[in-house]
């Protein structure tokens, strides 16, 4: 779906039925005919009960981004309700944590949100540092910010490519994966791994930056800024894209807060809240950046918010890379991590939303209890109210726009 010609658009927008106004009209028409109260809350009262259909989507479905299974209750093409069946990727991360030392558990967190492993590691290391009552050194904090923001861009790029692919646009996938590769190369050079990076250690970073790190990051910034514009030329004013995303999957700010939704989904509904600003961690208080927000809370706004977030991340990286302080990269932490008895909750703004760790220490080398507050899991709960009343084809768009990673949903 590159440049849409007039004819294409007509045909496709007709076939891809995201036009809710039409379907709403259909509803009122039938209401009049049948004289029935045709609402989602009252699915039993449909004009023809035989219309109601339950279909299964997933877990092996390319558009569910992994192993999400959704049971859809349909009236014709209209979604009356959904039920998510999750847990196919459950590995018992929290149980594993109780049986590993704090240091040994560190790599496991990368396997939760595996497209943003650096963020997971940052959250975990900061939570344990908080429990230990130590703080990473300034230099480590800057390196952490740079890598985490690079990872945010990579995560958003992956989201954009797959989300557009779900809706039917093939090209963005190639563009975003091509550019994401540059970020992965930086990760690989820094710590040897591309995806499950295990980049940070409790107390700082294990690795000093490699020679030429700063130059490469700066080169990346100049490389990727025009690429983000390029993605936007493909989509932002593309008529098919707009028809498929505008007014699709709307969630109001009040609903989003009540459902605990965080991250870009919350911000697209107009809530200007970002943990990097609200409760700054690492070195975020030292950088100047903005929180992009949307107004309508629909799929299109969430797209715009994430695009703007990528640009803000570039700003943060630029400031950070120009002023990395000298000094040690590890704070003085004991060789054996043995936090005092106590409980701590610490959370960060991951690319998906609020990623929190609640750790209970009994004074031993292993966490007594470690709870991960996964943003994808909580955001996925909003799928139901976002797709009610939409058409089946839109469910795919909404799953994509929530930006879930099943490794984190199921843990």
């Amino acid at each position: 779906m590159s440049a849409p010609t007039g004819e294409d658009t007509k045909n496709i927008s007709h076939l891809a039925p995201s036009n809710r106004e039409n379907s709403d009209q259909g509803e009122t028409e039938r209401k009049n005919v049948g004289g029935n109260d045709l609402t989602f809350e009252n699915p039993d009262k449909t004009y023809l009960d035989s219309n109601e259909l339950i279909i299964n989507m997933g877990p092996q479905h390319p558009a569910t981004h992994g192993v999400l299974r959704v049971i859809l209750k349909l009236d014709g093409e209209k979604v009356l309700g959904t039920e998510c069946v999750i847990g196919y990727l459950h590995r018992g991360v929290e149980k594993i944590a109780e049986n590993r030392t704090y240091t040994m558990f560190n790599p496991y967190v990368d396997r939760m949100d595996y497209v943003a492993a650096v963020s997971n590691g940052l959250g975990y290391c900061e939570a344990v540092e908080k429990l230990l009552n130590v703080e990473a050194t300034p230099r480590a904090k800057y390196i952490r910010v740079i890598l985490t923001e690079l990872n945010r861009i990579a995560s958003h790029q992956l989201w954009l490519g797959t989300h557009a692919l779900d809706i039917g646009a093939m090209t963005p996938l190639f563009y975003t994966f091509r550019d994401r590769e540059e970020i992965l190369k930086i990760f690989e050079k820094y710590c040897g791994a591309r995806l499950t990076t295990h980049a940070f250690r409790i107390g700082g970073c294990q690795y000093e930056t490699y020679a030429g790190f700063e130059k490469e990051v700066k080169n990346f910034l100049t490389f990727v800024a025009p690429k983000i514009d390029e993605y936007e030329t493909l989509l932002t004013t593309n008529r098919i894209w707009m028809e498929r995303t505008k007014n699709v999957g709307v969630i109001s700010a009040a609903d989003a807060i009540a459902l605990g939704v965080t991250g870009p989904v919350l911000r697209a509904s107009g809530v200007k809240w970002d943990l990097r600003k609200a409760q700054p961690y690492a070195a975020y208080s030292e950088f100047d950046f903005e929180i992009p927000v949307g107004t309508n809370g629909d799929t299109y706004d969430r797209y715009l918010v994430r695009m703007a977030e990528m640009r803000q991340s570039l700003r943060i990286i630029e400031q950070a890379v120009n002023s990395i302080p000298e000094g040690p990269i590890m704070a003085k932490v004991p060789k054996v991590i043995k936090p005092p008895v106590g409980e701590i909750y610490h959370s960060i703004e991951s690319p998906k939303g609020e990623l929190g760790y609640f750790i209970v220490s009994d004074g031993s080398t292993q966490p007594y209890r470690l709870r991960v507050r996964p943003p994808s899991f909580v955001n996925l709960q909003a799928l139901d109210i976002m797709v009610r009343g939409l058409l089946v084809a839109d469910v795919v768009a909404v799953i994509g726009t929530i930006d879930i990673v099943l490794g984190e949903v199921d843990r």
Partner: protein, 232 residues
Amino acid sequence: MAEDAKTPAPPPPPEGEKKPSAEMPAAPVSNAPVKPVAPAPPAKPAVPADSTTPPKPAAPAKPTGPVPLLWSSPLVEKYRSQYGTALEGQTYLGQNYLTVKSELIPNILRLLRDEEQFDYCVDITAVHYPKREKQFDVVWILYSFPRNERLRVTTQIADGASIPSSVSIWPTANWLEREVYDMFGIQFDGHPDLKRILLPDGWKGFPLRKDYGILQQDKEWVQINLGIESGQ
């Protein structure tokens, strides 16, 4: 140099700890922590006495560690006058939490949302202490957008006891409570659809209980549904 390096990081982050350690150099008798729970830092004054200036050692929190302090705030005062000793406010490393009796549970959560603007329920989870009489801690992690403040509410319940659901207060509690039920077997009264969420419906046992071994599985389920001898 060695002492310098010992100071882990310039300022200790949380406010809760900052105060006692900042007061310490002024009072020569170092036995002045606000609450007498900890054995106090005994060996400390010897080292910093000469080199004490602004940073002040964050007293490598290894041996004794910081202790929970009483948390006094209008919020705690208000609810203490209402509920008395059924509720206690504490702060640890700058994080505030309320320990409440389980009878208060739906009410205090509703009041916190309606009166104190804790409009966002971040997480609900539990901790298992098998040796205690009331085996489970149930923890609500709350956040208030208007106040930009976090608060944890903790209560203790016995094994087999149930606790009122908070789905009617925060709809997000739906899946969170299901997960707590799935992992710990804690019943939430009034939950609209309390069933397992991550594990299969027919699974037996609650994996995050301490008596559930890390290698343990529901063998019967595995054999029937997966057609293999063991999942290990």
